[in-house]
Amino acid sequence: MPDLPGKALARELIEKSRSESRATPVEEVIQAICGDGLDDGAAHRLIGRLWTLERMFYYIYGGWGQGLEINDFPPSIKYLFSKQIVDESTHEMLYLDALLRKGFAATQKDAFRHPSGCFVMDSALAYYVFSLRNLATYPHPIRIAALNLGPKVLELAWMEGLTKAIADPDLKGVFESQFVENRSHINMGRRIVEEFVTKPVEAELCRWACAVAKRDYGRFLGELSAFVLGHEAPAPPAPRRQVTD
C-alpha cells in the first residue's frame, strides 16, 4: 500500500507536540504531588476543573459536527469522530463519578455549583474552549489535526506523569483508564491527517491551528495548575476590550 499523502505532516506535528509535552504547567502539580502528596482539597480542584473542561467538549464537538455534511468525507471519518465524542463523554462521566465517589460533592447539582466545577466565562478554560469551537468553520482534518495532534499529545504525556505521581488508587484509576482512548485519539488524528491533508495550504493551516490550540491549552493548564496549588492565577490571555456597537 503506498504511503498516504499527509504522513510526513502527521509525524511532524506529533513529534513537535511530544517534544513540548513534558514542559507544561502541570509539571508543577506533579512535582508538588511527588513531594507532599495530593490532599482532598487539591484533588477536588483538579478533578472539578478537568470535569468542567470535559463538559465543554459537548459544546465544541456540537459546533464541529454541524460542519460535517453528507458525502463530504467517507463514513469512516465520521465514525472516528463519533467514537471520539463517545470517549470524551465517558471521560466526563469518569470525572463526575470520582467527584461523587470521593465525597467532594454530594450531588451532581452541587458539583455544578462548586467553584471547582462551574464554568466561568472570564477564564483561560473558556478561552481555550472558544478557541476550539472557533475551528468549527475549518475543514474537519484541520481541526482534528489541531486538537488530536496538539493538546491531546500534551494531555496524554502529563496525564501519564500525574498518574505515576498519585498514590490514591481510586484517583490513579480515573486518569489511567483514559490512556487507551487518548492514545486512540492521537492515532485517529494521525490517520485523518495522513489521508486527507493533501495540499500545502492545508498543511500550513494544520500547523497554524495546532500551534494556536496548544498555546490556548497551555494557558488553561497554567490556570489549572495555579488553581490546584492555590497560587495566584496567571495573567489573562488578552487585555479585556470593551466592545460597543
Binding site: 500500500m1 467517507p74 463514513p75 469512516s76 471519518i77 465514525y79 472516528l80 467514537k83 490512556f179 487507551v180 492514545r183 486512540s184 492515532n187 485517529m188 494521525r190 490517520r191
Partner: protein, 84 residues
C-alpha cells in the same frame, strides 16, 4: 491457510473490528492485556479468508495485514457482500 494481523503503525485503535467481530460471534479480535491495550487478532479463532468483516468495517484502510504475504489489506469489492 492465510491469516491476518494488525499493523499498529496504521491502526487507530478505534475498536470497530473488535465490535464487528464480536457482533458476528467470531470473537477473534481482542484487546491485548499489555500496557498499551492494543487490538490483536487470535489466529485460532479468525476464519479469514472465509470472513472479511473486519476489513469491510475498518475506517483506516490498510491497518490489517495478511501475515504470509505482508500485504496491507483493503476492503473487498462490493460483490463479495452479494456473493456471501
Amino acid at each position: 491457510m492465510p491469516s491476518l494481523k494488525i499493523d499498529h503503525e496504521r491502526c487507530t485503535e478505534c475498536r470497530m473490528c473488535y465490535i464487528v467481530c464480536r457482533e458476528i460471534d467470531i470473537n477473534a479480535v481482542y484487546v491485548a492485556l499489555e500496557p498499551l491495550h492494543r487490538i490483536e487478532i487470535d489466529l485460532q479463532k479468525c476464519t479469514y479468508p472465509g470472513c472479511t468483516a473486519c476489513l469491510m468495517y475498518c475506517p483506516a484502510e490498510g491497518s490489517i495485514v495478511e501475515v504470509e504475504s505482508g500485504r496491507s489489506m483493503v476492503p473487498p469489492p462490493p460483490e463479495a457482500w452479494q456473493e456471501a
